[in-house]
């Protein structure tokens, strides 16, 4: 196997430098690393085989977005060991921050099928039902077990803050944004019909979720060591936005504007992970919501090269390595491609290199290591 610079034995993370680069205050000789989410299928072999750590399963339920952990006395040691692994992974892989997120308990219908990714055996993936939601009427809305936010919801965040290595920051958010949870609870088809047939119900469910995330963010932002919120909320697919832009502006962006304001009041940036072709709402996100950074850029959908030209002087750009290329390219071609991205996007700062979307189970470990190595040795 190729010798990589990662994992690093004695890393020197510097979250303040990371933030200064993202603000354009420092123009670095090479961009820092960034990731949104990294699948267990990659974390496990790296932690076990390269860092000599023991892999820990958390017994979280896969059908809740972000998982739901068992914080009972009997299980807390397991949760802590899992968190120690998370911290060790982000630290030794050369990041300036740990990124972990969790969701409130928002049960929905999940469909489980086998993970067909190469090399992944015996793992089940949960997908949200696209056609049938748990909320289809006002009665469903009233009866839905809406969660109450408790201090227990922030156990993992406090643990991370208390165990951060020197120089490391902590990036988090509520796992799943307003639109994402709406589509989980109503299903995509269900929300489409409700949008036209009963816009009041559509708004009620949206606002209920939006309000919960707002309260959640208030708690998050109380954590001194929280660097920033990088919220996920996917509004697009490969061709366009998932619902008409005017409806995104009407129902969802006002919530993100509130989250951004909340962050800004605390002097922290607000970044958004938003998949797909979202050109139709990009100016709204920058000018009205006032996001400070955006993640998820993929060639052919929303390329990082185009984003650099269009938005690179106004917000910071995160990621940009196309998932298809990251999954399929031979390491040498991948290195060339990543160097090309750095050459074009690093000048001027406000750029961190990483995958264009979450690092999923189908990404070969060697390719992920190649990406990190190329960036760190640039």
């Amino acid at each position: 196997m190729t010798k990589f610079k990662v994992p690093i034995e004695k890393p020197k993370p510097d979250i303040n430098r990371f933030l200064d680069i993202m603000k354009g205050k420092i123009i670095p000789d090479k961009p820092p690393l960034v990731e949104y989410l990294i699948d267990d299928a990659l974390m496990k072999p790296i932690l076990e085989n390269m860092l000599g750590r023991k892999w820990v399963e958390t017994s979280d339920k896969i059908d809740y977005m972000g998982g739901q952990m068992d914080f009972s006395k009997e299980n807390i040691k397991t949760v802590n060991a899992w968190l120690d692994n998370q911290i060790a992974f982000w630290y030794h892989m050369g990041y300036d921050f740990v990124r972990v997120e969790a969701s409130l308990t928002l049960p929905a219908i999940s469909l489980k099928v086998a993970d067909t990714a190469k090399g992944v055996k015996g793992v089940t993936r949960a997908w949200q039902d696209e056609t049938k939601g748990v909320i289809r009427s006002w009665d469903d809305f009233e009866k839905y077990p809406w969660p109450k936010i408790t201090e227990n919801d922030f156990y993992i965040h406090r643990y991370i803050c208390d165990h951060l290595p020197d120089g490391m920051g902590f990036i988090s958010c509520h796992a799943g944004g307003v639109y994402e949870h709406l589509s989980r609870l109503m299903s995509y088809e269900g929300l489409c019909y409700t949008l036209y047939d009963d816009p009041a119900l559509f708004k009620a469910v949206t606002d209920k979720i939006g309000g919960l995330i707002y309260e959640y963010d208030k708690h998050l932002l109380e954590l001194d060591k929280l660097t920033l919120i990088l919220q996920g909320d996917d509004y697009g697919y490969s061709e366009q936005v998932l619902i008409p832009p005017e409806d995104i502006r009407k129902y969802f962006l006002p919530w993100h504007k509130k989250y951004a304001q909340l962050s800004h009041e605390k002097g922290k940036p607000y970044y958004l992970h938003c998949c797909g072709k979202v050109d139709a709402i990009m100016e709204d996100l920058i000018n009205d919501v006032k996001i400070d950074g955006k993640h998820s850029f993929q060639d052919g959908v929303a390329s990082i090269f185009d984003a650099k030209k269009l938005y690179g002087d106004r917000i910071c750009l995160l990621g940009g390595v196309d998932m298809d290329k990251l999954a399929r390219y031979e390491p040498e071609n991948l290195r060339k491609y990543i160097r090309q991205i750095i050459n074009k996007c690093a000048p001027g700062g406000k750029f961190a290199i990483g995958a264009g979307n979450s690092i999923s189970s189908y990404i070969p470990v060697e390719n992920y290591l190649t990406m990190c190595d190329t960036a760190l040795t640039y």
């Binding site: 067909t116 990714a117 995509y188 008409p244 298809d324």
Partner: protein, 214 residues
């Protein structure tokens, strides 16, 4: 009167009124309207929505709404066509499904509706379809086209697997293969040996025509 019912049926689909569309389909049959004429107005409406989507004037929820309204009225009309033993001209037989390991259905269902609107005979195998089931259906329905959907990069290789089995079973020359799904690219489609790829559902329906030179 019959014109008014047909106009309302078309309007119901254009306004995504599923229940209304189904009721109007029933009313059309009660009033002895030619089911082929009813089918025509329905497919015309769906094509209109598909074209609007293609021009960037309509959005995904519009396609979903029109497809749903069409799906609710279509079986009523089709049943009558079958009962009467009427022969409906078809552009060809298409077997459609989402590959194994993938449960995403919206894109696939829209392709089915738009293919039917174009005039194809469509067999929808559903989601999480194994390679064996695809092959079985291609044989059973004597398919002219096999259309496979895969939303995820991790499930897309299943399409390659099905094409390999088609070759093994000496079926590859008898059926055109088209692929689609959010994670796919033209390059990937060529690489796995598919005959065609289109990123959108309306584009997929037009592609099917091109593949059969119709």
């Amino acid at each position: 009167m019959s014109n008014e019912i047909l106009e309302n049926l078309k309007k119901a689909i254009l306004e995504y009124e599923s229940e209304k569309a189904a009721n109007l389909a029933r009313e059309a049959l009660e009033k002895k309207i030619d089911p082929a004429k009813a089918l025509n107005v329905m497919t015309e409406a769906v094509r209109q929505v598909g074209d609007g989507f293609g021009r960037g004037e309509l959005w995904l929820p519009d396609l979903v709404g029109a497809a749903d309204a069409m799906q609710s009225a279509m079986p009523i009309i089709q049943k009558e066509i079958e009962r009467k033993g009427m022969k409906v001209e078809t552009l060809g037989v298409v077997v459609v499904g989402t590959v194994f390991g993938d449960i995403h259905s919206i894109g696939k269902t829209m392709v089915c509706t738009l293919l039917a609107a174009e005039g194809f005979t469509v067999y929808d195998l559903g989601v999480n379809v194994t390679a064996e089931k695809f092959i079985e259906a291609v044989k059973k329905y004597k398919a002219d086209i096999l259309a496979m959907s895969a939303l995820m990069t991790m499930t897309a290789p299943e399409q390659r697997k099905v094409i390999a089995i088609l070759k093994k079973e000496n079926l590859r020359d008898k059926v055109k293969v088209m692929v689609g799904g959010g994670s796919l690219t033209e390059e990937f489609a060529k690489n796995i040996g598919a005959d065609g790829y289109d990123p959108t559902a309306p584009g997929g329906a037009k592609l099917a025509r091109r593949l059969l030179n119709k």
